[in-house]
Subunit: 397 residues, 2 copies
């Protein structure tokens, strides 16, 4: 598997475009991804009980027809908590995109992100649709889906399946409201492999728990967010079937793309100055390991300590303690970078200058070894800074 | 029941004192509460799996002997994650206090709060003990237990039980690490009622869920925190027995004291500029109502919006949605103060100026009516400000 400088349109048969339609003041806010042919599709969605109209429309299309040819996305207005008018607008967004592309409405997925409670300005959407082109600028799509993100998030990989080259690419937006249980962001993944929707869903579902579900920014879960994977078969590769080596290879590829996007989302959390990676080692089982890792990376006290470059391992241990996991906490070893600060639950002396170097880096690796099993789990997050408060106190106004 | 300007020494037979022993640089950091006679005692403790030595020592004394005559507290150093030396120090703290007061060690409860991982400086503790007096300054005790709190938290009430006057008082510290499941703060309540330890525990346990367990500052739960109630019978009142009107009256009194302290803790959360009270109304059951109220008041996005004085009800509804409760979310009415902003899950127009007045007040009342049952629940918290980040990024250094 090889990572390369590509974009969401790198897999064969895909194109994308993005532009400014006026949902936001100045920045790009509208775009689409289009496949030359209907593609297999898989999705995971927010677990929030309040679900926005675009998500309802897209999920319903996928569950009913299991194929998709285009995804159209706007940022700036989430079309969430907008009642029956919001549902009507979401269906119109799907239908008008389908008309423009001359395909069936069920082949169009839609997504919206931004302010909750405002109706989608349909006139802006229509004018935007007039300007979107097939074979446009795929980098503009990556820009158009952002909200408070500071950078675009794109990844591309390719790999040989026997003599067939398969390419996969992903693009995501994240920033705030990123937390547990999936679908708390927008991510779109394209691939030119030949794989059925059912098999694709299997691969997506088995990788969500260890990737997107393991990032947290602020513990809030959005009403809108989803991950869609489209595979159009344009590579001409052999069909990837469950239970084969090719499937495992495909799943690894998807895992790599999802992990990369998850880390990029965590690193660009609202106001973040640092990426935090927490590895929990030697836990009774993987689920416990992941849960503990996420408890540590989600602790406001750990996050502020990391922002302050303070090696406050007490807060890390406290977050392990209150996670509610069924694991021993009396022989815990905690390391910051390569430096142990707690060994078998006893404080360990360390060199202050060496520690300072580690705390000042852009990425902090926290390792928690429970010595209570042999399973591991990782979670990603970011520090909690003044800017997080600033961004969220002033988001609407 | 009458609230009055009293302190922890107002109930008959209690005294308290506080002073600067040197655990902190300048502020008071050491104190005790003493009863003339052994008192009935009840306690609730942190649910963190990592439990600090002082808590282990105190809980064990209470569970074994069910009576207590003094509680000694230091702030600045938590004596948490301090291994076997920490346990030995905690037992010494208990024993030396008992020697000074010439009572049995099991009659002494101990509590520590502050930095995790540092050993208790026993020389300072011993010198502090030499200076503490019985019948000292009870207001100094309220100061001595604080960490990042900005104000002392004290409450006193009295009520007639037949012809007997009973007085109850409480003092608490809170600020950071205040969250779910009890005991995530220090609170000490004294009372001169005549009540057994078992009956006192019953009254404490039945009021914890709706008071201290319903406040949240940052979602973190401490390793040290506990609530202790001492009742010494010095009022000469008749014994309060379970299942009687007197018990209900006593329970209401305790509830009033605990609610008052809980709200004071929430209002003085680290960096807080506003108290937030969330009432969930007409839920399927009380537990669901409380859980939803706490989800809203604990949402970082709601908290930052309140700090920014932004009536962002979308984040409130989102927090209702992701709480994981089994309740309908399709006919929700949300009000900020007296102004409805969402009615039956449809956005409601409101007057911007009137709303601005509400958002600028020191206390914000958020009401969420589910129209899905007849049970209610309340939770308290505070906004998330720049100062929360500042306090926690720089706490150790």
């Amino acid at each position: 598997m090889e990572f390369f400088q590509g974009n969401i349109a790198s897999p064969l048969g895909f194109s994308a475009d993005g532009l400014h339609a006026g949902f936001k003041k100045r920045k790009m806010d509208f775009g689409w991804v289009v496949s030359e042919v209907p593609a297999s599709v898989a999705g995971v969605y927010t677990t929030n009980k309040v679900v926005a109209p675009p998500l309802i429309v897209t999920r319903s299309a996928i569950e009913t027809h299991r194929e998709m040819q285009a995804v159209v996305v706007n940022s700036g207005v989430a079309n969430s908590c907008t009642g029956s008018q919001g549902m009507a607008d979401a269906y119109r967004m799907q239908k008008q995109t389908a008309e423009k592309l001359k395909i069936a409405p069920h082949l169009v997925g839609i997504a919206s992100t931004g302010v909750i409670g405002d109706l989608l300005p349909m006139d802006k959407l229509e004018k935007g649709l007039e300007k979107l082109v097939v074979n446009g600028n795929a980098d503009d799509f990556a820009k158009a889906i952002l909200t408070t993100d500071t950078v675009t998030k794109t990844v591309a990989v390719k790999d040989m399946f026997g003599s067939d080259e398969v390419t996969m690419a992903g693009v995501a937006k994240g920033s705030g409201m990123i937390h547990p249980n999936m679908a708390t962001m927008l991510a779109f993944i394209t691939c030119d492999a030949n794989i059925s929707s059912q098999t694709l869903q299997l691969a997506l579902s088995q990788n969500v728990e260890t990737t997107f579900n393991q990032i947290t920014i602020d513990g809030d879960t959005s009403t809108n967010d989803m991950v869609l994977v489209l595979a159009n078969g344009c590579s001409g590769s052999q069909e990837i079937l469950p239970g084969t080596t090719a499937f495992d290879q495909f799943s690894d590829m998807l895992s790599a793309v999802m992990t990369d996007l998850a880390k990029k989302i965590a690193k660009d959390g609202e106001g973040a100055t640092k990426l935090i990676e927490v590895q929990v080692r030697n836990a009774p089982d993987s689920q416990t390991a992941r849960m503990l890792a996420k408890s540590v990376v989600g602790s406001s006290l750990v996050k502020t300590a990391v922002f302050g470059e303070d090696p406050n391992w007490g807060r890390i241990l406290a977050a392990v303690g209150y996670a509610g996991a069924d694991a021993a906490v009396d022989k815990v070893t905690i390391s910051l970078g390569h430096i142990p600060v707690l060994v078998d639950s006893n404080p360990a002396a360390f060199d202050d200058e060496e520690m300072q170097d580690i705390m000042q880096e852009d990425e902090l690796n926290i390792t928690v070894d429970l010595h209570d099993g042999s399973s591991h789990g990782t979670a990603w997050g970011c520090d909690l800074s003044y800017d997080y408060v600033k961004i969220n106190a002033l988001y609407r106004t």
